[in-house]
Amino acid sequence: MAHARPATNRSTPLAALLVAGAVGVVGLLIVVPLVSVFYEAFARGAGAWWAALADDPDTRHAIWLSLTVAPVAVTINTVFGVAAAWLVARFRFPGRALLISLFDVPFSVSPVVAGLALVLIFGRQGLLGPTLAWLDWKVIFAWPGLVLATTFVTLPLVVRELIPVMESIGPEEEMAAVSLGANGWQVFWRVTLPNIRWALLHGIVLANARAMGEFGAVYVVSGHIAGATDTMPLRVEKLFQEYRQPASMAVASVLAGLALVTLVAKFVIERRLEAESRDLEAARSHSESLDHTQVEGAVA
């Protein structure tokens, strides 16, 4: 854990104690449980692990469901997040502060409550129940409900990531593009998007991780139907309840593996984000050290 050393490079007894404490907590709460998941999952070897995942049709379906629900929810959030962040960062309008606060509601509301709210609206007895029944659209206890619940809980992740970045970049580059003759799409694809791409990717990675792992809201709207509306986290729980711990751990290890991939992606993206904000700093600083190039006779 060499990285944990303070930047001053001096280890006082207090610093050593704090480092030991941090390492202890991280180890006990994060590293040991994570390692034990993989240990349990592979306790009978990789073959048994693979069999637990691939031979059970309900588990296969759960993995497939998670892999389809999460990308759809993340895509919705990406489109919404970019549009909402642009609106909030570029315009001043009445209710703007309230709108920003509303983006955070999914973070403060318990996912179970969110799921129940969706049932109240889209369920058979819900507000839109009769309409949906008449249209013969099934939302609750079906795939659309899973997408709605997942979208709801991950809603703040992309937009929250983009607002500060778009605000710090400012509107000048976009205005410059317009004055150079670019239309709205050209401004977005050539100027806005490249400037926010790392922040956007960061938001997408976080939203995806949250979408894959979401349990509470999805639990309420899914009805927990094996082979139909069970996502991976629900499947883990069901297998565990059915005393099929090895199979449960195998699915859990896939989720944990996704978390590790997310961690690496997040780390790489954050490095890029830091580099970009350093560039932004540099672009704003008035360092004139390189500035004694001759401009004499430039027109001549």
Partner: protein, 360 residues
């Protein structure tokens, strides 16, 4: 291309940024919008570019009303205060942007960008990112990018604001030559009067969303129209005196002011520029000399060709700043030391009577 701005009004909330502003920019002119921050100069520039929309008034270019034409279609080159270069694009792609969105063929883009890189003395730096450039280089990329689309009008917002003094002066002279070479109509915004006077053909002084004065640099400098203009141009001795019978009084020295022939005395402000005052020796003990003001030297500073003398008129606690050419100073029979007595003679002065409502 000439620009005519007619009766422009623009507000931001309750703040009136521009209040019935009209302005003409003749074809080929380099015009400076000069004023303190908040005077509306940047807003006016952005309205000409189409980046802001006025509530009232029209913008006419070469006889065509362009008020409702989108910024995208105005073909105006705009250089932003902090350059607003596309940070993720190379210098080459920054300059090429206006051509790319117009779908200009690659070979043509390449030739044009190379030509512009040469024009702004950045040959060989096309592959750099903006972050790898100095302030002055970024400024020139911003200029090249604006020029790439061959605009008929070039607008610059505080073009030299973020540069250090040496680079600023170099770029200023360079921009003047560039303007003459290309023969565009250019408008730039500045709060630096030296920059405005050195660079521009016409200077427009703005304050509180209105135009205080418009004219050639000489006209504005020699005949400031309002107290604000003379205050803003700075470096001036201000004296709160009075006027009566066609004369104003400066420390008791009469100055002709035929605009106020009335017998009733009124408050007036008398402005004297340091270089419009003469110094002469004064024998110790001598007193009022009619048109000259007896004073004592407080400080003497030699600023190269100019000698700055701070004086205190006898019987006053104000300071009067006098600038005389160092050459002339050498020829005077004056001991330039603190405490020496001198006679100050104004050659010209400007007198303004404050608005009646402010007179107590």
């Amino acid at each position: 291309m000439s620009i005519h701005v007619r009766n422009i009004v623009k507000s931001f909330g309750s703040f009136r940024a521009l209040d019935d502003v009209s302005l003409d920019v003749p074809d080929g002119t380099l015009l400076a919008l000069l004023g303190p921050s908040g005077s509306g100069k940047t807003t006016l520039l952005r309205i000409i570019a189409g980046l802001e929309h006025p509530e009232e008034g029209v913008i006419v270019e070469d006889g065509e009303d362009i008020t409702d034409i989108h910024a995208r279609q105005r073909e105006v080159g705009f250089v932003f205060q902090h350059y607003a270069l596309f940070r993720h694009m190379s210098v080459f792609e920054n300059i090429a942007f206006g051509l790319r969105v117009r779908k200009v063929p690659q070979a043509e883009v390449k030739a044009r960008v190379e030509e512009l890189l040469h024009l702004v003395r950045l040959d060989g730096l096309g592959g750099r990112k903006p972050a790898q450039l100095s302030g002055g280089q970024r400024q020139r990329v911003a200029l090249a990018r604006a020029l790439a689309i061959r605009p008929k009008i070039l607008l610059l917002d505080e073009p030299f604001g973020a540069l250090d003094a040496k680079v600023r002066v170099e770029l200023r002279q360079w921009l003047r030559r560039l303007h003459d070479e290309i023969g565009m109509t250019s408008v730039f915004v500045t709060h630096d009067q030296e920059e405005a006077f050195e660079l521009a053909d016409r200077v427009v002084v703005m304050n509180h969303g209105t135009i205080e004065q418009e004219g050639t640099p000489d006209e504005v400098f020699d005949h400031p129209a309002t107290p604000f203009v003379i205050d803003f141009l700075g470096n001036v001795n201000v004296y709160h005196g009075r006027v009566e019978n066609g004369r104003a009084f400066w420390h008791g020295i009469p100055i002709d002011f035929p605009d106020y022939p009335h017998a009733q005395a009124r408050e007036a402000r008398v402005y004297l520029r340091p270089h419009e005052l003469d110094l002469a020796p004064l024998a110790a003990g001598a007193n009022r000399l009619g048109t000259s003001l007896p004073a004592s030297i407080l400080r003497v500073t030699r600023a190269g060709a100019i000698t700055r003398v701070a004086c205190r008129p006898h019987g006053s606690d104000q300071e009067v700043q006098v600038d005389i050419p160092t050459e002339t100073a050498r020829g005077l029979q004056i001991n330039f030391e603190p405490g020496t007595h001198v006679a100050i003679t104004p050659r010209t002065a400007r007198v303004f009577i404050p608005d009646p409502e402010y007179v107590i």
